[in-house]
C-alpha cells in the first residue's frame, strides 16, 4: 500500500493516522498518504465522513472532545504530531497553512485585516525586517487578488465581500510561504463565479510557489478542475485514491461511483441515482466494510473484515473486495419538451412584482407557470429568488404586484387567501432543521393540516399519514418520532410529506436540497420528479444550475432582483442569451 509514498518522499507524509472520540470511538483511522510539492489533493466525502477531522489533524489539531491517538504526520522532515507547545505553534502557519470553511466566521470580527496579516507574520520568525515584512504583505495581497493599499488593510472583515474574505484567508495562509496548505471547503459559502475565481487563484498560487495543498470538499464537481489527485473518504476511512482523470473516468469503489452518479450536471441531463441508506455515525459502524449495508455489490465476505486500501503501482488505491473496473456509464436523458409550445391557462401568473425591505430586492418581476411544469428560479445570493418564492407563497412582506392563480386573483398574504386556495399552494423551506416544530412528533406535524383543511381526524388521518410517509420513502415508525431524532434528509422528507398532505397543485421549493449531501439530494430530486410526473406543478428555487438541468422544464434567471432571461431549460443552458447567464454557466462546476 505504500508504493506511492516510497516513490515520492514529498512534502507531506501521513501514516496510520487515527483520531478518536472518548470511548475509543474512531472518527478517522488508518489514514496514510503523501503529497509532493505543488501537488493538489482533493479530499472528498459527505458530511460525517471525517474529512474535516482529517484536515485539521494534519495540523495536529482535533476539535473539542476528539483526540489524535496514533500515526504520524510529516511535513518535510518535521514530525508534526510529536511537536508540542512552542514548536507546534511555530510549525502551524509557517509549515502548514489552513483555510477554514466559512470566512465570515473564521475572520475575527474585531480585528482589522492588516492587523491579522501582520500578527501572523510576527508570530513566526521569518527573518524579515520591517520593510521586507511590509513588502511580503503587499506581495501576498496582490498574489491572492486583493487590493494592497493602506485603506484596505484598515478594513474590518465585515466590510469585505464573501469572496474577498476568503481571499484574505488565502493571504493569511500564503503570507508565511508554507509548504502545505489545508483548505476545508473554502468555497461552499460562495457564489459560483466567486468560487471559480478563488479556485483559479488557488491553483495558480500552488503551482507557482510549489505549495502542496489538501482541498477538502463534499462536491466532486467543484474539485474536478482544481486537483491533481483525489482521495475519497467514507466513514472515517479512505476508500479510494486516484489521479483526477482516472477517478472521474473509471471510479473503482462503489461509493465513489455512487457519488458520481448522484451529482446533477449542468452540462447535460442525466439520470441521478441516490445511494440508499445513510452513512453510519462513528461508533455505529458495521462489522466489515462500512459501506457494505448500502452497497449493491455486497457479499458475505464484505461483512467479515474491513477491506484495506490496496495500492497499485500507478498510485491508485481502492478499499473494496470487489472494485469496479469499467468506466462509469452516465445515462443521459432526453430533454423533456412535451410542454413546449402548449398554450394553456397558466396555473400561476405573476406580473409586476416589486418587493422592498430596507432596500428593493425585486424589480417588476413577471412570470407564468404552466400546470404540470417545473419552473426553476436561478440566481446567486442577493438575486431576490427567495423573496420571489416567499411572495408567491404569501409569506412576503412589502410586496406589490398582481398574482393570479388558475385565473383567479391571488392575495399577497397567505392569511387573506381562502382555505381552498391555501392548501393548493405549498412551500418547502431551505433549512430542514427549522422547518419542523421540535416539540411535535412527526404525526402531530403531519396530521394537523389534515384536520385543518379537510377535517380528517383519527383513524383516517393515521392512514393518510402512513400513506404519505410511504410516498416520501419513510418508514411508518417515523410518525412517533420527534424531529431531533431524524437526519436532515429525513426531516426534509417530512416537510415534503406535510406539503403533500395538503393536496397541493403548486409546490414551491426554496433551495430545499442545499443543506443536504449530494446522495441525499439525488433521492429528494428523484422524489420531486416522481411527484412532477404525477402532475404536480413546481416552482423550484436554486442556485445550482446542475439541479436546474436535472429537474426543471423551464428556467428563469434572476440577477439582483431583475429577470435577465427565461425559457426552456435546454434552450437557456445550452444557448444562453444573457451575458450573466453565460458567466454563470461558465463558472458552474461540471463533471464533463
Amino acid at each position: 500500500m505504500n508504493a506511492m509514498t516510497e516513490i515520492d518522499a514529498g512534502v507531506l507524509q501521513v501514516r496510520d493516522l487515527r483520531v478518536e472520540l472518548p470511548g475509543q470511538v474512531d472518527v478517522v483511522s488508518g489514514i496514510s498518504f503523501s503529497l509532493a510539492a505543488g501537488e493538489i489533493l482533493g479530499l472528498v466525502g459527505e458530511s460525517g465522513s471525517g474529512k474535516t477531522t482529517l484536515a485539521t489533524a494534519l495540523l495536529a489539531h482535533a476539535r473539542r472532545g476528539a483526540r489524535i491517538v496514533g500515526g504520524q504526520v510529516h511535513v518535510g522532515d518535521q514530525a508534526l504530531l510529536s511537536l508540542e507547545g512552542e514548536a507546534l505553534r511555530r510549525a502551524r502557519g509557517s509549515l502548514i497553512g489552513y483555510v477554514a470553511q466559512d470566512p465570515a466566521t473564521a475572520l475575527n470580527p474585531a480585528l482589522r485585516i492588516g492587523h491579522l496579516l501582520r500578527e501572523t507574520l510576527a508570530a513566526h520568525p521569518s527573518g524579515l525586517d520591517r520593510e521586507a515584512q511590509q513588502q511580503r504583505l503587499i506581495e501576498t495581497l496582490r498574489d491572492v487578488g486583493l487590493p494592497d493599499d493602506h485603506g484596505f488593510l484598515r478594513r474590518f472583515p465585515h466590510q469585505l465581500s464573501g469572496g474577498q474574505q476568503q481571499r484574505v484567508m488565502l493571504a493569511l495562509a500564503f503570507v508565511l510561504r508554507p509548504r502545505l496548505i489545508v483548505l476545508d471547503e473554502p468555497t461552499t459559502a460562495l457564489d459560483v463565479s466567486t468560487q471559480a475565481h478563488i479556485l483559479a487563484t488557488l491553483r495558480r498560487l500552488c503551482k507557482s510557489q510549489g505549495v502542496a495543498a489538501v482541498y477538502v470538499s463534499h462536491d466532486l464537481a467543484v474539485i474536478k478542475d482544481l486537483v491533481d489527485r483525489v482521495m475519497v473518504m467514507y466513514a472515517g476511512r479512505i476508500v479510494e485514491t486516484a489521479t483526477r482523470d482516472e477517478l472521474f473516468s473509471r471510479p473503482s469503489h462503489p461509493y465513489t461511483r455512487g457519488l458520481l452518479a448522484a451529482i446533477p450536471d449542468v452540462a447535460g441531463r442525466r439520470e441521478l441515482t441516490a445511494i440508499a441508506g445513510h452513512a453510519p455515525a462513528p461508533g455505529r459502524r458495521p462489522q466489515g466494510c462500512s459501506f457494505g449495508p448500502r452497497c449493491e455489490r455486497f457479499t458475505a465476505g464484505c461483512a467479515v473484515a474491513e477491506p484495506l486500501l490496496q495500492m497499485n503501482a500507478a498510485g491508485r488505491g481502492v478499499a473494496c473486495l470487489a472494485p469496479h473496473d469499467q468506466a462509469l456509464q452516465v445515462k443521459a436523458l432526453a430533454p423533456i419538451a412535451a410542454l413546449k409550445g402548449r398554450v394553456e391557462l397558466p396555473l400561476l401568473s405573476v406580473s409586476g412584482l416589486n418587493v422592498a425591505y430596507d432596500r428593493q430586492v425585486l424589480f417588476d418581476v413577471s412570470l407564468q407557470v404552466q400546470p404540470g411544469e417545473c419552473l426553476a428560479i436561478v440566481g446567486e445570493s442577493g438575486s431576490g429568488k427567495t423573496s420571489l418564492a416567499r411572495a408567491i407563497a404569501g409569506l412576503g412582506e412589502n410586496a406589490e404586484g398582481a398574482l393570479d392563480y388558475a385565473g383567479r386573483h391571488l392575495p399577497l398574504h397567505a392569511r387573506q387567501r381562502d382555505a381552498g386556495l391555501r392548501h393548493q399552494i405549498q412551500y418547502i423551506f431551505q433549512n430542514p432543521y427549522r422547518a419542523l416544530n421540535p416539540r411535535q412528533t412527526v404525526y402531530q406535524t403531519l396530521s394537523a393540516p389534515l384536520a385543518h383543511f379537510f377535517g380528517v381526524k383519527g383513524a383516517p388521518a393515521r392512514e393518510r399519514v402512513e400513506a404519505v410517509l410511504k410516498r416520501v420513502s419513510l418508514p411508518g415508525s417515523v410518525a412517533g418520532l420527534y424531529p431531533h431524532s431524524l437526519s436532515g434528509g429525513e426531516r426534509q422528507r417530512v416537510a415534503i410529506a406535510r406539503a403533500l398532505l395538503c393536496e397541493p397543485r403548486l409546490l414551491i421549493c426554496d433551495e430545499i436540497t442545499s443543506a443536504l449531501d449530494v446522495s441525499v439530494q439525488a433521492s429528494i430530486l428523484d422524489l420531486l420528479r416522481q411527484l412532477q410526473r404525477e402532475g404536480l406543478t413546481m416552482l423550484f428555487v436554486t442556485h445550482d444550475l446542475g439541479v436546474v438541468r436535472a429537474i426543471a422544464d423551464r428556467v428563469l434567471v434572476l440577477k439582483v432582483g431583475r429577470v435577465v432571461e427565461q425559457g426552456a431549460v435546454d434552450d437557456v443552458l445550452d444557448h444562453p442569451q444573457a451575458v450573466y447567464t453565460r458567466t454563470l454557466l461558465e463558472h458552474s462546476p461540471s463533471l464533463r
Partner: protein, 351 residues
C-alpha cells in the same frame, strides 16, 4: 429606499446615540412623574411624620401649607419639575437642609462604593471567567461554578449580615465592622471602612459576571476564528488577549451595566447593614420619613444613573463592535429598539 450614494460624514452611531440619549431622558422623566404621583399616594402625611405625635393639628396644617402639600398634585409636580430644571432639588422635609447638599456627599460615597465594587468585580470576573473557561470541565471549573451558583443564590443581605457578625467578634477588629465615615478625612484615608461593604457587594455581583465572561470566552474559544488563528500559529496568550477577549468583552459590558443596576438596589441593603452613609440609606430613610423631595431627588438620581449606565454600555458595545461602529445605520440594541417586526409582518432579506 436605495442606499445613499455618499455615506454620511458623521458616523451613524452618533445619531443613534443622540436618539438613545433622548430616549433615556424620556425614561427618566416618565419615572419621575410616576414616582411623584406614587409618593403623593402614600397614605400618610409628611407633616405628621416630621412633627411627631405631640404636634397639635394647627401645627400640622401650618406645616402642610408651608410645604405646599395642600396644593393640587399636578401643580406640585410642575413646581418641582421647574425647580429641578433650574438645578434646585428642593429642601428636605426632614432636616430642612437643601436636598442637593445632603445628597452630594452621599452620592459621592455610593459612587465610591460602586466604583470600588466595579474595580474588584470586573477584573476579578474577567480573570476568573477566563481562568475557568480555559480550564473548562476541570475540577477547578466545576467547583468554581458550584461556588458561584451558591453565591448567586444566597440573598446578598445575608452575606452582609454574616460579615458584620464576623467582624464584630473579638480579635476581628482589623477591619471596621461598620462603615461610619468621617467627612473630615478623605475617603482614601478611610479605605478600610470600604472593604467590607465592597466585599459583600462584590460577592453578590461576581457570580453573574464571571459566568457571563466564562460563557462568552468558551463561545469565543470554540469559534472558527480562534481555531483559525491557532492553526496559523498565533500564540495562546495572544489568542486569549487579542482575539477572544475583545469579543467576550462586548457581552461583558452589557453584563456590567446590568450588574450596576442590581448593585444600586443591593446598595440600599448593604448600606443599611453597614451603616454606610450613601444614597441607599438616605433613600430608605426618606421613604420611612415620607421625605418627598428627598425621595424624588434620589429616584431621579438613580434613574438618571441607570439611564446613563445603559447608554454608556450601549455606546461601548457599539464602539467595541467594529461592525456596528462602521455601520451606516446602527440597529443593534435589542433593548429599546423599536422594532423587531411582528412575525407575520417581518421583513426578510434574501436568504
Amino acid at each position: 429606499m436605495l442606499e445613499p450614494a455618499n455615506p454620511p460624514r458623521t458616523p451613524a452611531w452618533l445619531s443613534w446615540f443622540i436618539g438613545r440619549l433622548g430616549y433615556g431622558l424620556l425614561t427618566a422623566w416618565v419615572i419621575s412623574l410616576v414616582v411623584f404621583i406614587a409618593t403623593q399616594a402614600l397614605p400618610s402625611d409628611p407633616a405628621r411624620v416630621i412633627l411627631g405625635p405631640d404636634a397639635p393639628l394647627e401645627s400640622i396644617l401650618t406645616l402642610q401649607h408651608q410645604l405646599g402639600l395642600d396644593q393640587p398634585i399636578l401643580w406640585q409636580y410642575l413646581r418641582w419639575l421647574g425647580s429641578v430644571l433650574c438645578g434646585d432639588l428642593g429642601v428636605s422635609l426632614d432636616s430642612n437642609a437643601p436636598v442637593s447638599r445632603i445628597l452630594w456627599g452621599r452620592f459621592g460615597y455610593t459612587l465610591a462604593l460602586l466604583v470600588g465594587v466595579i474595580i474588584v468585580v470586573v477584573p476579578g470576573a474577567l480573570a476568573l471567567g477566563v481562568a475557568l473557561a480555559l480550564r473548562r470541565d476541570s475540577w477547578l471549573d466545576r467547583w468554581g461554578l458550584s461556588l458561584l451558583i451558591f453565591l448567586k443564590a444566597t440573598p446578598g443581605f445575608l452575606l452582609a449580615i454574616g460579615l458584620v457578625l464576623l467582624f464584630s467578634m473579638p480579635h476581628m477588629d482589623f477591619l471596621p465592622a461598620v462603615s461610619i465615615l468621617d467627612p473630615d478625612l478623605s475617603l482614601l484615608r478611610q479605605l478600610k471602612s470600604l472593604v467590607l461593604p465592597i466585599f459583600a457587594l462584590s460577592l453578590t455581583a461576581l457570580p453573574y459576571l464571571t459566568r457571563m465572561v466564562r460563557a462568552a470566552m468558551i463561545e469565543a474559544q470554540e469559534s472558527d476564528y480562534v481555531i483559525a488563528a491557532r492553526l496559523r500559529g498565533i500564540a495562546q496568550r495572544r489568542i486569549v488577549w487579542c482575539h477572544t477577549l475583545p469579543n467576550a468583552l462586548v457581552p461583558a459590558i452589557q453584563g456590567v451595566a446590568l450588574t450596576l443596576r442590581t448593585l444600586i438596589a443591593g446598595a440600599v441593603l448593604a448600606e443599611v447593614i453597614f451603616s454606610y452613609p450613601g444614597i441607599g440609606t438616605a433613600l430608605n430613610a426618606a421613604i420611612q420619613m415620607r421625605d418627598l423631595p428627598m425621595i424624588q431627588a434620589i429616584v431621579l438620581v438613580i434613574t438618571l444613573a441607570v439611564v446613563l449606565i445603559n447608554l454608556l454600555a450601549d455606546l461601548l458595545t457599539v464602539l467595541l463592535t467594529p461592525k456596528l461602529r462602521t455601520a451606516r445605520r446602527v440597529t443593534l440594541i435589542q433593548r429599546n429598539r423599536r422594532g423587531i417586526t411582528p412575525w407575520w409582518r417581518r421583513s426578510r432579506g434574501d436568504a
